[in-house]
Symmetry: C2
Subunit: 501 residues, 2 copies
């Protein structure tokens, strides 16, 4: 028996259990580091027994004594017993569902029962990081057929909580990402809400990008809203722009992201299932999917985009979801800023209809909003664009955005990043395109999204003609080291911006 100890360590959704190596040896417990261990005990108050499994680390001294077992932050919280409780520890085996992952790797199909078993174990933190990677790569490399994908999506929905809204039509939009600065959501949502649509938007934080919509919105307002708070905000304003991860809408997805992020790998099936499951769990009825297509976007050809669009439509049809797809042109980032604070400034500029607001962000947002308002049947086909432009230009969208920010809880704009570096044109010429993937990497190296003020500010756009030495873009960073890392990366990758005539 061991005494329970809380180790205040954040291991990002992996349960870590720490045992003193002396206890392992003398007790002949037969553990090795990285083994899976089960800790069991009973609640001193209620007498109810509880158990938790996690990945084992050994320690020698200081952290836990030979008579103690240490649980990392989340594991301790999930276990729910007080420090000092007497608990036992034993070697645990992998959950049965890991065998299903192995079967999938070997080429077998998975069904809804299988996916539900896997995702329930994933959500309960019963998978080690390596097993999570196995599952993600099994789905990525062994492909899911349509029936599997529908089953996977259903399993995602089954594993999470659900938000319900009164409205007959609940609108939603989603961009598959990959285009830096592409913050249309924060413009489309207030436009549609001011036209009377219910649009409770939950967004993600950055997975592989320098900013997700939740990161950018988080610069201006609280985005970590509970389900109750979302209902309050939506009842009051007709909309919200919240962080989906604060809810338990897709708890398995939140865990899978911890391995997808370091892989810098987005996988098609995982993406379709994850997006559509989240739409269903917020009770969306009408959804527009934005697929940017460009030489450095996630989707590089219109043929590939059509294929992905068909996949979205096919799965949506099985989920009773009214879905349309917009294929949008992406030869460069949208807007000027890349990184949460810089992107938030772009959004405000468009909503305020500033004369120098980035026109590409404005036009794309109007296009997407017009598609959704037409889908909803509130305006006649073809009349959407005029309607949404009017809403933006008359200030109604800005007023609605302020309402949403106030309802969520406004935040003070953080200060500008203190360190800057200007990258200049290597030669005379016209900008032909900007590599979205590489410019995102510069912004990430500068510290985005963790440093909200860090990132890249584009000073020129595709089509601009400039002379050698003229400023192309600025790197913003919060430390000299990050500035230097980003600068060096930009220098080593001159192909970030293609110039020609």
């Amino acid at each position: 028996m061991f005494r329970l100890k809380h180790l205040p360590v954040d291991t990002l959704r992996e349960h870590v259990i720490m045992i003193h190596e002396q206890a392992v040896r003398s007790g002949n417990l037969g553990f090795n580091p990285l083994d899976r261990v089960r800790v069991s005990g009973s609640d001193p108050a209620t007498g109810k027994s509880r158990e938790i499994t996690g990945v084992l680390n050994f320690c020698r001294d200081a952290l836990v004594g030979p008579e103690e077992v240490g649980l990392s932050d989340e594991a301790f919280h999930d276990f729910g017993l007080p420090e000092g409780t007497l608990v036992s520890a034993s070697l645990a085996v992998a959950p049965h569902s890991v065998d299903l992952v192995r079967d999938k790797l070997a080429g077998k199909r998975l069904d809804r029962t299988g996916f539900t078993a896997i995702l329930a174990d994933v959500a309960a933190r019963r998978y080690s990081r390596v097993e999570l990677a196995m599952f993600v790569l099994a789905c990525a490399l062994k492909r899911l057929d349509l029936a599997e994908l529908v089953d996977y999506t259903h399993a995602m929905i089954d594993t999470g909580d659900q938000l319900k809204f009164e409205a007959d039509i609940v609108a939603d939009k989603h961009c598959i990402g990959g285009i830096p600065g592409n913050r249309t959501t924060m413009i489309v949502v207030p436009i549609l809400a001011s036209l009377g649509l219910t649009i409770p938007k939950t967004s993600s934080r950055a997975i592989t990008s320098p900013a997700g919509t939740a990161d950018t919105m988080g610069v201006l307002a609280d985005v970590s809203l509970s389900a109750d708070r979302i209902h309050q905000v939506v009842n009051r304003t007709g909309a919200c722009i919240a962080w989906g991860g604060a809810l338990e809408l897709a708890p398995a997805d939140d865990v899978l992201i911890t391995v997808e992020r370091p892989m810098e790998l987005d996988t098609e099936a995982q993406m379709v299932a994850s997006i559509l499951a989240k739409k269903k769990t917020v009770s969306a009825t009408h959804v527009l999917i934005d697929i940017p297509v460009g030489p450095s976007a996630k989707v590089r050809t219109y043929a590939a985009a059509d294929q992905l669009a068909s996949l979205f439509r096919a799965v949506a049809a099985h989920l009773d979801l009214h879905l349309e797809v917009a294929l949008t042109d992406a030869r460069a980032p949208v807007g000027r800023g890349i990184g949460p604070r810089l992107e938030a400034l772009d959004v405000l500029s468009v909503l305020r209809c500033d004369a120098d607001a980035p026109q590409d962000l404005r036009e794309k947002s109007l296009y997407l909003a017009s598609r959704i308002i037409e889908m909803s049947g509130r305006v006649l086909p073809g009349a959407g664009y005029r309607e949404v432009r009017r809403t933006l230009d008359c200030g109604a969208a800005m007023a609605k955005f302020s309402e949403i920010v106030d309802a969520q809880g406004p935040r003070d704009l953080p200060p500008e990043a203190p360190y800057r570096y200007t990258v200049t044109a290597p030669a005379d010429g016209r900008i032909r395109n900007v590599d979205c993937w590489e410019i995102a990497r510069v912004a990430k190296r500068a510290g985005a999204p963790a440093n909200v003020a860090a990132g890249v500010k584009m000073l020129k756009s595709v089509g601009d003609i400039l002379s050698k030495g003229e400023p192309l873009f600025e790197i913003h960073a919060c430390s000299t080291e990050q500035l230097e890392t980003a600068r060096a990366y930009a220098q080593e990758h001159p192909g970030i911006i293609t110039m020609g005539f």
Copy 2:
């Protein structure tokens, strides 16, 4: 700047860096948990600068203070600066070679330069656990063609140290594994050494099995030998049976195993490269590869075995290695014991020519030894079997084995496991086969190989006829919990032993 602190935590070949969350916030360092972090400082004695990268964990209190940065055991050791040294910490990016892994996942080929870059980073602990999993699965699922496999093997060899021996012929053998109890090495090596061959055998510990040869030999003798000690032992006895992991023969492989083990996944290309690289690094000239074939072995059909054998031969041809393959029949475990101590008893029984020694282990060892002695040219083709049997039966092999054990450093046989459970026949009938994979899982759940005395002892063999209720096999465990886990697994999987008429 932070003060360096040593965290005495064993994280199994992953560098973990611990920073106080308050330091992260106030310093606006822009870190997230699981980010890769670089710690830099200079040696107070020599002034030389040093740096190390690792995976970031946050903590709140107790473990490290806001002014400290904590390094896990191996990271602290590799960094090499004393506690209290002033160091800086910054966000680090993934090594460039991770892009090559991503390219491979996307279907591109890798070459020797690429593999060498990857394996050097892997060996230096620059890969996170998730990136290691990516690499292993990329090679497994995207396949390596022959040229890639040869390049990968060369890269493995380039990354490690090399052992050199005087002899013209350096013999070696290797079983691809998957057959519990198959401890032929400990019999073949002394037979061949007593016939005058040089055979410096390095073996692995269990990856996915209840015991590797190094685990079993470790019951009787020290197997953690340095390169110098191996030379001493081989000079004195002509042979050794050592743990390869104690050397730096294939340091990348030792790291890759930390993700392969929890995956319980052996991959063909990884296996061929890893085996042949290790043979080259011990300067082997003549190698026999044992591929067991059976319904529950790693290789299930002779067609698959032939294909694998061709792969071994093709790669060996590019490495200037004389290689033969033995396809051996495997419808059941070899010998009676499964688990380090129980297998060691089988080996001793065969070497002593006990009347009740397991005949399958004896015959298989004699066959493999005869193939190698014939390959070496020391006897005429066809004369090998008689020669090696004579060597075993006259006690010369046993004497040689004792010599090797004495040279490596003998160990006292550990006591028997205190807990037993006997599994009995569910019906009358004849044993048709034993599922090697499932019986291994029973032994692992009983605690093998970490508990050396734990495992399974087969009481009957394929072909035996028995009545319902007669003992089939015994589970040995060091705790009641492990006994119970293994018993439950055996009960839930009645297909472990197939009976019929």
